[in-house]
């Protein structure tokens, strides 16, 4: 592609710092628990109990335990009404604002795929059974995708406008990437960006109906991979103009240095087998960051463990990079959809801070068709400077971000 025609290309202007982060996922509540789980390569996928999976091929998902999630539950009737997605977002926001109480965002950009979907399910089931619909207004009010964002902002006392991006499974990475571009362009100084999604019956059954989810373990890039498992979570990064962050003495955890987005118009659910969409997204992220593929030390792959996704992504990675370590952390917690890109960005942040390669667990055998250096089954200490995170979604939407460790 001619450089001048790349829509991701732009003048390098402001540098963009990550000054705080918060995460809730099956791997833990907060950064400390999360890095511990990552280091131990824990398998956090468990049997689904929130709804019946008797007729589904897949019976498992990466779920945030209710007792952990609701430990920080808002007091009173209002807290009782909130969707579990709101509770996840509130905890992630609180972790960010605890680290950086002075962080005043001008905008919040959040990715999701399904908002408060389970409340929509309650509502429909109650209508159908002609049951008591006393709670319907609560379900309806807490269903919209922006509600968990507003709930979280209110819980921490901020009032930034919010943009909610729903680009399917790429939403979280798109949200961070768009926020990065907004700060880099100089139009904004501080933005909260991230994503959330909670496991719901409809989405669970949807992936099962596509035979995309597996009754077995999630084995990304494995020769014997049989599909994905779903996950859930919320993750937030506080992005700030680097100079301003340094002026006010904020800790810089890492930098975001590049973002690439592409749309491949092959099929609404399947990736182009050539891997052209993922490749374009990664190339554009590299161009945006003005770094070469050789400078990338680790790739946190989209790696859903479906046959087609991993084949297309693997082809794109091996075509562009030469032996870079790759892992899909979805093997540990499943695919958290709109949250995935944000959760995985935080995994990359922790990998940069603690200098290790997160593991691709449940790996049994290499796929002969994929020329990849998989970080199989255990974490590896290493020296990391630049890492790349991929997210791809339905509708052929592809996104990649690049992060760099920061030394003052």
């Amino acid at each position: 592609m001619a450089q001048s025609s790349n829509p991701n290309e732009k003048k390098v202007s402001a540098r963009v710092a990550v000054v705080a982060a918060g995460v809730v996922s099956p791997l833990g509540v907060g950064l400390t628990e999360t890095v511990d789980s990552l280091r131990k390569a824990r398998d956090c996928v468990t049997r689904v109990t929130r709804f019946s999976v008797a007729q589904c091929r897949c019976k498992t998902a990466g779920q945030v335990p209710d007792d952990r999630l609701l430990a920080g539950k808002e007091e009173g009737r209002r807290g009782h009404r909130l969707h579990r997605a709101s509770h996840m977002m509130i905890q992630a926001f609180k972790e960010v604002l605890t680290q950086e109480p002075q962080f005043k965002p001008e905008l919040t950009v959040i990715g999701t795929t399904s908002g408060g979907m389970s409340y929509g399910e309650h509502y429909y089931r109650s209508l159908r059974r002609a049951e008591e619909l006393r709670h319907a207004p609560t379900w309806i009010a807490n269903y919209p995708a922006q509600k968990p964002v507003i709930d979280a902002e209110e819980a921490v006392g901020i009032s930034a406008p919010c943009q909610v991006i729903a680009n399917a499974c790429a939403s979280g990475t798109n949200a961070i990437g768009h926020a990065f571009e907004c700060v880099r362009s100089g139009r904004y100084r501080r933005i909260l960006a991230g994503g959330y999604d909670a496991v719901s019956e409809m989405v669970f059954v949807g992936f099962d109906s596509l035979q995309a989810s597996t009754p077995e373990k999630c084995r990304p890039f494995d020769r014997h991979r049989t599909g994905m498992v779903l996950g859930e979570g919320a993750a937030i990064l506080a992005l700030e103009n680097l100079e301003l962050a340094q002026e006010r003495g904020a800790p810089v955890l890492a930098e975001i240095i590049g973002y690439g987005i592409s749309t491949d118009n092959f099929h609404i659910t399947q990736p182009n087998p050539s891997g052209v969409g993922p490749r374009q997204a990664m190339e554009r992220a590299l161009q945006s960051a003005q770094v070469s593929a050789n400078e990338v030390d680790y790739i946190n792959a989209h790696g859903t463990a479906t046959v087609f996704n991993d084949a297309a992504e693997g082809k794109a990675i091996s075509g562009l990079f030469n032996g870079v370590p790759v892992s899909s952390t979805k093997s540990m917690m499943g695919h958290s959809l709109g949250a995935a890109g944000a959760v995985e960005a935080i995994f990359c942040l922790l990998a940069l801070q603690h200098q290790f390669l997160p593991s691709n667990i449940n790996f049994t055998a290499s796929d002969d068709d994929l020329d990849l250096n998989i970080v199989a089954n255990e974490t590896r200490p290493t020296v990391l400077r630049i890492v790349l995170s991929n997210s791809f979604g339905f509708g052929g939407t592809n996104a990649s971000i690049l992060m760099r460790s920061f030394k003052a």
């Binding site: 790349n6 829509p7 991701n8 290309e9 732009k10 003048k11 019946s52 008797a54 007729q55 589904c56 001008e106 905008l107 795929t113 908002g115 429909y124 089931r125 209508l127 159908r128 002609a130 619909l133 319907a136 207004p137 309806i140 009010a141 919209p144 995708a145 922006q146 509600k147 507003i150 902002e153 209110e154 406008p161 943009q163 909610v164 991006i165 729903a166 680009n167 399917a168 768009h178 571009e181 362009s185 409809m202 059954v205 949807g206 992936f207 099962d208 109906s209 596509l210 035979q211 987005i261 749309t263 491949d264 118009n265 609404i268 374009q280 979604g393 339905f394 509708g395 052929g396 939407t397």
Partner: protein
């Protein structure tokens, strides 16, 4: 950064085509209500639907299985490109972004998909329907039709989402590698939505919508799409950006209100940020609900002398599409130098409402204001050269 409106497309219950719908509004036409029934208890609701004849030309293989929401969007998006005379090819498609504004999304297929699960069990769930339930399905269809391979975003929110999408476009266009951004807002109707808004006490049983009335009778839901092609101003030639062209001078990032009683203050803040003392008219989002009182208070406090127009009595509340419709209305009012009558408004309303077709000869600046039903609010300022 100012952006030019290079083309517009409109699919509404009053038909499609910007000039045609505008003409009908000027004549005081309003959409005809049709009745849809709830499937369990057979309650019925009045809605404003897009006439089937409107979509007859919008056939594309990619839309074969797509829901109405995607077909409305494709028709409006293609109209906007045609109006701008922009043919996307391998040269310019890389320099064009696509943003969708969505509120309730593909509710028809979502309900059908989940109904099968509830009625028959998970094994009967349709793998063909599931992809169409995803919020970005309409955007992916239009991206495929147009061959867009770069930035495609779907933004989700309430009735303010259309204006938030314009703000996002403004932010994206700060990237000088983009020349155009096509912004599309779209919505489809289903009885499930009517039931939900009814339980929330926001729906009226039958037309009319009475804007700014003393009694909040509620709204009538409608469907359709609006599309606006934005172009970077500096790249356009003087002739293109000459007399009669529109610019989005400022898109506000918006805000939210925790409680409905706080909506007025949020709207005042947005209006004050946008008002530069020369606002001739405001295209409001008043729809017969709590929104009207909030807008009325804010408008009286900040822009008391501006004309205020709302098309919702004529076109209904189209939620995800509404913001784009309002921008089209503002552009048409400035272009034609007149305003259609605000239908069914009481004469005692203390706002400058055009109760009949009203000339606005020297109007140059308009504000589009949107107060959503789910806590979001947004605005933008539009000018004609």
């Amino acid at each position: 950064m100012s952006l030019a409106i290079a083309g517009m497309g409109w699919v509404t219950p009053l038909g499609s085509g910007v000039d045609s719908v505008w003409e009908r509004l000027l004549y005081g036409d309003e959409a005809s209500a049709t009745t849809i029934s709830e499937e369990f208890n057979h309650r019925s609701y009045n809605v404003f639907r897009v006439p089937e004849s409107v979509l007859k030309g919008a056939a594309h293989p990619r839309l074969r299985r797509a829901s109405a929401i995607s077909r409305f969007a494709a028709a409006a998006g293609l109209d906007a490109l045609n109006a701008a005379g922009l043919k996307l090819d391998s040269q310019n498609v890389e320099r064009t972004a696509l943003i969708f504004a969505i509120s309730n999304g593909g509710v028809i297929y979502t309900k059908r998909f989940y109904r099968d699960i509830v009625n028959e069990g998970a094994q009967s769930a349709s793998p063909l329907l599931f992809p169409e339930t995803v919020f970005n399905a309409p955007a992916s269809h239009l991206a495929a039709i147009l061959g867009i391979s770069g930035a495609t975003y779907t933004l989700v929110g309430d009735g303010a989402v259309g204006l938030l999408a314009i703000k996002m476009a403004e932010d994206l266009m700060a990237n000088e590698a983009l020349d155009h951004c096509l912004v599309v807002g779209t919505e489809e109707i289903d009885w499930l939505l009517c039931d939900a808004y009814q339980r929330w006490r926001l729906l009226c049983r039958a037309p009319p919508i009475e804007p700014f009335g003393k009694h909040k009778r509620g709204m009538i839901l409608s469907e359709g799409a609006g599309a606006i092609l934005l172009a970077r101003l500096p790249r356009r030639s003087a002739a293109e950006a000459g007399e009669g062209s529109f610019t989005i001078e400022c898109a506000h990032p918006g805000g939210y209100f925790s409680r409905r009683a706080e909506a007025e203050e949020t709207l005042k803040r947005i209006l004050r940020d946008l008002d530069q003392g020369e606002i001739d008219l405001v295209i409001a989002s008043a729809n017969g609900t709590f929104v009207d009182q909030a807008e009325c208070g804010a408008l009286r406090a900040v822009v008391p002398n501006a004309f205020v127009y709302t098309a919702k009595p004529a076109l209904g509340e189209s939620v995800g599409a509404a913001g784009l419709w309002q921008i089209i209305l503002a552009a048409q009012a400035l272009r034609s130098a007149e305003l259609p009558p605000v239908l069914h408004a009481g004469s005692a309303v203390s706002l400058r409402l055009p109760l009949s077709r009203t000339p606005i000869a020297r109007a140059r600046h308009a504000i589009v204001l949107s107060c959503g039903l789910n806590q979001q609010a947004a605005g933008l300022r539009l000018a004609i050269r």
